[in-house]
C-alpha cells in the first residue's frame, strides 16, 4: 500500500513520534528531532541554545492571540524550556497570493510587539509568496538563539524518587479556544481565551531559585499527558499525578466533559511543566505566583519507581488510570 502523510502525524502525539522515527531519524539522527526543545551549540567556550519552529493555525486570529504572537511565544518558550534566556530570533513568512495586506500588517505588528515584550530581538527574516490555493493563507517559520543559564535543566538521567512535577497554571485553554473558534455554531457566543504567552520569565526564576531542575518543557501539541510520557518513556522511572491537583478552569472542564476531550491531551501555548528535586517545588511555585502566568501554579505529582515507563493518574474517584500519549485527534493545525 502506498504510504502517505496523514494529518494526525502533525498532532504532536504518538503519530508525530513515529513520523520522526520513520523518516527523519534515519538521515538526520536522533538529536535533530528529539523531544527536547533546543539544540546546544558550542562556539569556543560558550554554549548557545538554538531552536527552530514553524506555525500554522486555523483560524489565524483566535481569542487570546494570533499566528504572530504564537510564533514569538513558540520560539521563546522552546528556548526557555531548554534553560536558555531568549536573545535573538528569525521569522519567515510564506504567504498565499490574494491574502489581505491589512491582515498581514496586523500579524507582523503583533509579532513585533510580542517580541519586544519578550525581550527577544528579531534579527533576520524572509518572505515567500505562493500562488493562490497552493497554500492556505499564511505560514510562519522561525528560529531562535538563547544563552544558557548556569542552572539549566540537568536532564532525564538525573531523575530520582520523589522528584516533584510542577505546572504553572490551568491546562487546555489553547486547544479548547481553537476548537471553539473553529466551530462557532457549537457554542454560540461563548469563547475560551488561549493561554498564548511567554513562560521565559518563570523558567528563569525557577533556575535562579533551584539547582535541582531536571527538565522543563512547554506542553503544546499533544498536551500535558503526552509531554509527561515523553519524559519517562523507555526509562526505569514512572510518573504519578493527582487528578485533583491538576489546574483546569471550570469552563474548560465542563466543555471537555461535553465534547469528550481529555484535558491532558489538549494543547497549551503558555504552560511550563518542570520536574524538580524533592523539596524545591514549594519555593519555585511561590515565586511563580508573583507572575500573571504563574498565579495558579500547582504541584501535580511525583517521579516514582513504581510504574516504570508509564504515567499513572490517581483519580478523584479513588481509582487510578494510565495516561497515554495523545493518539488520534480531530483537531489538526493548532500551533
Amino acid at each position: 500500500m502506498k504510504k502517505t502523510i496523514t494529518i494526525q502525524e502533525g498532532n504532536g502525539g504518538k503519530y508525530s513520534q513515529k513520523l520522526y522515527e520513520d523518516v527523519f531519524v534515519p538521515y538526520l539522527g536522533k538529536q535533530t528531532f528529539s523531544e527536547g526543545d533546543a539544540a546546544t551549540l558550542r562556539i569556543g567556550s560558550d554554549f548557545l541554545a538554538y531552536t527552530a519552529d514553524s506555525f500554522t493555525i486555523k483560524p489565524l486570529f483566535f481569542p487570546g492571540g494570533n499566528i504572530g504572537t504564537l510564533a514569538v511565544n513558540g520560539i521563546v518558550n522552546d528556548l526557555a524550556c531548554s534553560g536558555a534566556i531568549p536573545k535573538y530570533m528569525t521569522s519567515c513568512f510564506i504567504i498565499e497570493e490574494g491574502f489581505s495586506k491589512d491582515t498581514l500588517s496586523e500579524v507582523v505588528k503583533s509579532l513585533a510587539a510580542e517580541a519586544e515584550q519578550c525581550k527577544i530581538r528579531i534579527v533576520a527574516g524572509d518572505t515567500k509568496i505562493m500562488a493562490a490555493r497552493e497554500l492556505d493563507q499564511l505560514i510562519i517559520s522561525g528560529s531562535g538563539i538563547g544563552m544558557f543559564h548556569p542552572n539549566k535543566p540537568k536532564g532525564i538521567e538525573f531523575l530520582q524518587q520523589g522528584d516533584e512535577i510542577l505546572i504553572n497554571g490551568n491546562i487546555g485553554d489553547h486547544g479548547m479556544s481553537i476548537f471553539l473558534a473553529r466551530n462557532p455554531e457549537i457554542l454560540s457566543g461563548g469563547e475560551v481565551k488561549s493561554d498564548c504567552s511567554s513562560i521565559a520569565e518563570i523558567a528563569q526564576k525557577a533556575m535562579e531559585i533551584s539547582e535541582g531542575i531536571k527538565i522543563m518543557r512547554d506542553p503544546t501539541r499533544g498536551g500535558l499527558g503526552t509531554v509527561l510520557n515523553e519524559f519517562i518513556r523507555g526509562t526505569a522511572w514512572g510518573i504519578e499525578i493527582f487528578e485533583e491537583s491538576i489546574p483546569v478552569s471550570p469552563e474548560v472542564r465542563t466543555l471537555c466533559e461535553m465534547f469528550g476531550f481529555d484535558v491532558l491531551h489538549l494543547a497549551n501555548e503558555g504552560k511550563l511543566t518542570a520536574i524538580v528535586s524533592p523539596g524545591d517545588g514549594q519555593r519555585i511555585m511561590e515565586a511563580w505566583n508573583q507572575y500573571s502566568v504563574g498565579k495558579n501554579a500547582q504541584k501535580i505529582g511525583n517521579v516514582t519507581k513504581e510504574y516504570p515507563g508509564k504515567v499513572v493518574m490517581n483519580l478523584k474517584s479513588g481509582g487510578r488510570k494510565i495516561i497515554d500519549m495523545l493518539g488520534y485527534d480531530m483537531l489538526p493545525r493548532i500551533c
Binding site: 500500500m1 502506498k2 496523514t6 472542564r253 465542563t254 483519580l315 474517584s317 487510578r320 488510570k321 488520534y328
Partner: protein, 365 residues
Amino acid sequence: MKYSEEFKNKDGIHKLLNKIKGAAPKKNIKIMEVCGGHTMSIKRYGLSEMLPDTIKLISGPGCPVCVTPIHFVDQLISFVENNKNAILVTFGEMLRIPGSISSLGKLKSEGADIRVCYSPVEAIAHAEKNPSKDVVLVGVGFETTAPTIAAVVLEGKKKNLKNLYLLSSLKTMPVAMRAVLESGDVKLDGMICPGHVSAITGVEIYNFIPKEFGLPCTISGFEPIDLLIAIYDILMQIQKGISEVNIEYKRVVNSEGNQKASEILYTVFEPCDANWRGFGMLKQSGLQLKNEFKNYDASLAFNIPEVKEKENKGCICASIIRGADEPPSCKLFGKVCTPENPCGPCMVSDEGTCAAYFQYSVSRL
C-alpha cells in the same frame, strides 16, 4: 457542572463502595454493562479495580462503531472510491475502522472529500453549501443517534434538498441484548442497561430480560456514582431474589421515554433485519428508511460495487462484542493491535472494550 460533579464526588463514591463491599456475594457474579459509554466510564474512573473481587463487569454490544460489520465499512469505502463528486459526512471514529482493504481515514489522507461532523445536522449545511455535489451522511448508532439522523432526513425533505443522502447501518439495542442472553457465551447475573438509548425508548424494551431470563436490570447514567448505584441496585435485587427493570438515571430517563424523538424516528425509519459484527444477521434489529424516504437512500442511488470481505484472522472483536471474551485473551491485543494501528473496531472507538482497556486499565501495569 450541575448533574455531573456531584456524581463524581469522592466521599459519595467511597460510601457506595463500602455499601457494595458489604453486599457483595461470596460467589463470583458477572454483570454486563451493555453500553460502550458505560465501559469507558468504568475504565476512566478506575471503577472495576475498586470493586470487590467477586463482582466482575463484562462489556456488552453497545458500542455503535464496534458492532458495525466490516461489510458496511467496505460499502462506505467502495462508495467513496466510486463516487468522486460526493462528500461523505461521518463521525470521526468511522475513519479509523479498518475495512477489508483500506479505511476511510486512508482515503481522506489521499484527498477524498470526507468531512468529520460533531452532529449529523451538519450534513444539511454541507448540502446547502455544495449544491453541485452529492452529500452522503453516514448513519451509525442506536436509538440515541437515530432520531437526530431522522431529523436530518426530514429537514432535507422540508428544504427540498436534492443532493442529500443517507448511507445507514443504524441499529436498535434490545435484539442484540437478547442475542447475548440466548447465546449462552457468558453466564450473566445482571445487566446495566444503556442510559441514553433508554432516554429515547423508555424502559419497556428491557422487560423481557427479567421476565424471560430472570435477570435484574438497572438503567444507569455515566458518572461513577451512577454506575455504583446501579451495581448496588443489581446486588440488592440478587440478594432479595427479585428481578426487575429499575431506573437509576432518573434525571434523564423516564419510563415512557422521549415520545417526540421516537415519533420522529419512526416517521422516517422502520425496523429491518441487520447485520451485526459479533452476531451476524439479527432479525428486526436495524432501521431502514421507509418507502416514502427511499429517495434519500444512498445505497439505491449510487453505484457501490461489492468488495470481497477480508477480516483480520487473529481478531476476536466478534466474541468480545458478545461478552464471550476479554481483550487480553486476544493474541493481537496491545502487540499488533493498538489504538494507533487498530486491527478491529473494538480498538478504534473510544467506547470500544479494547480501546478502553488498552488506554486506561491499570491491570496493564
